[in-house]
Amino acid sequence: MTTTSTPARSAAVVRGGSSGPSGSRFRASERRAGLVFALPVIVLEVLFLAVPLVQAVYYSFTRWDGLTSTWIGTANYTRLFGDPTFWRVVANNLLLLASVPFAIVIPLLVAYLLNEHVRGWRFFRSVYFLPTAISWVVIGMVSLRVFAAQGILNHTLDAVGLGFVNTDMLAGELSAMGAVAITFIWSVFGTNTIIFITGMATLDREVYEAARVDGASALTTFVRITIPMLMRFIQFAFILTLITAFTALFSLIFVMTGGGPGYGTTTLEFYVYQQGFKVGVFGYAAAIGIVLFVIVFGISLVQLRIFRSRLD
C-alpha cells in the first residue's frame, strides 16, 4: 500500500537505453507529466477535504456562527467534556458498538453454510448482498413500520400468541436504540457475508478434507480451522463495521427516530448535525466533529497497523 512504482519505473527507463542525457530528459518529462496528471485529484482533495479539515480544527477553538468567529481557546472542549448530554451521546455510540459482534458472528456462520455450496448458493448470496444497494433512508422507512407500536413486529407477536410481550420499541430510549441496532445489523449482514465468503474461497480445501478424514466435527473445523485462517478478513470486516457504526448511521437515525426519544438514539455524528444545523452553534459542533474525527482516525490507524504487520 505504501510502496511506489519507483523501482519498476527506473528499471523500465534503464531498459529503454537511458545511459545518456536522453534518459534523464525522458524521466524529467515523465515527472512533469506526472504532476500534471495528478493535479486534478490533488486540487479537489485540497479544496474540499484538507482545507475544511483545517478549518474545522481552527473553528473548534472559536465561537462561530458562519459569518464571524471569536477565538475562545479550548472553551468549546471544556464545555463539551462537562456536558452530560455529550457523555450520553458517547454512551449511545458505545451501545451501538455492542451490536458489532452480532454483525460479525451471524454473517460468519451464514458464510460458513454458504461455503458448503448447496444447490442455489449463488442465489442466496445475491439476495443477502442486495441491501448494499438500498439507501439507509429506504431501510429506515421500512424498519420504522416493523418496530412501530402498531407495526409488523407486534402484529406478528400477537399472531403467534405472544401478544403480552408487545412493546412500543421506538418510544423507549434504550429500546429505540435496540431497534436502530437491529436494523444496523440487518444492513451490514450482506456486506460482511460477502467478505467472509471471499475469504473462505481462498482457503485450501485439502485442509478440510484432512480434518474430515481425521474425524473432526463440523464445529471443530469451524473453530479450529476456518476462524484462524480467516483472521485477516474478520479484522477487515470488524473495522469496516466499526467505522460504519460511527459514521454511516446518520440517515437511518434521521428517518427512524430523529435522535430521540430524548437523546436516546443521538450518536456523535448526529449530534454534530443537531448542534450545527438545528441549534446553530458552529464552533461547538465543529469541536464535536473533531472528537469524532480523532476516534475514526484512531480506528483506521489500528487497521493500517494490522495490515502492515500482516504484510511484513
Binding site: A50, S135, I194, V272
Partner: protein, 272 residues
Amino acid sequence: MRIARRRIARSLIVLILCLVVVVMLFPFVFMLVNAFRSKDQYLAGSGFSLDSWKELFKYLPVAQQLLNSTIVTAGSVVLIILVSTTGGFAFSKLGFRGSSVVFLAILAGMMIPMQSIIIPEFVNIARVAHLHNQYLGAILVYSALGAPFATYLMTTYYRGVPSELIEASVIDGASFWDVFRKVMLPLSVPAITTVAVLQFIQVWDDLLVGLLFLNGPSVRTITVGLAVIQTGRVVNVPALMAGSLLSALPAIIVFLIFQRHLIQGLTMGVNK
C-alpha cells in the same frame, strides 16, 4: 448411513439459508406489496390499487427529484472517474517529486468522516463559492468524498499494467496524454466500471450532503425528498412505500447488472 446423514445436513443448511432469505427479502416484499395499496387497503392488509402513487405525486415532485438525483449522481461519477484515472496513472506510472507522500495523503482522506468537516464545507460552498442549492456544489463535495478510494483502486489497477507498454508508445512518439487515452483508459474499463458502480450507489443513496447542500424541493434528490416528507410526519404509509420503491429501483437495477463489480470493489480493501 453416512450419505443419509450428509443429505439431512445439506437439507438443514438449505432450510436455514431460506429462513435468512425471508428475513433479507421481507422489507422489499413489504415495500412492493404496500406501494400498490390505498391507505385503507394498507390498514386492512389486502387489496390492490394505484391510489398511493397519486398521493405520492401530490407530496413530492417525483420527476423533478429523480432528474436531480440523476444529474448529481452522473456528474459526481464522471468527475470521480476523471480525477481517479488521471491520478491513478500519475501515481502508478509517472510519479513526481514527493508523489508517494501525496498518494498517502490522498488515501488518508478515506479516514475523514464527512460529519467532521461538514460545517466548514457548508460555509465554504454557501458563502464563499455561492454554490448552495446548485448541483455543482453537491457534485464537488461528493467527488471529493469518493475520489480517495477511487484513486486507490485505479492506482492499484494501473500498477499491474506493464511499464514497457507505456515506454514503447512514448518511444514511438506518443505523448503521455495519448498513452493515457489510447492505452491506459481502454485497459482499465473493468476497474472504471467498479468505481462507477460503487460511486453511483454511494451518491444516489446519500442523505446528509444532499440535505444540506441541495436544500429546496426543486433541487432535492429523490432520497432527500423522501426522507424529508417522512420526517414531515406524512403518515400515508403506502405513499411512502411507493416513494421508497421508486427511489430504490435505479440502485437495485444497477446492483443486479453489476453485482460482480461491486463485490470486487468491496474486497479490494482486503484482497491485496
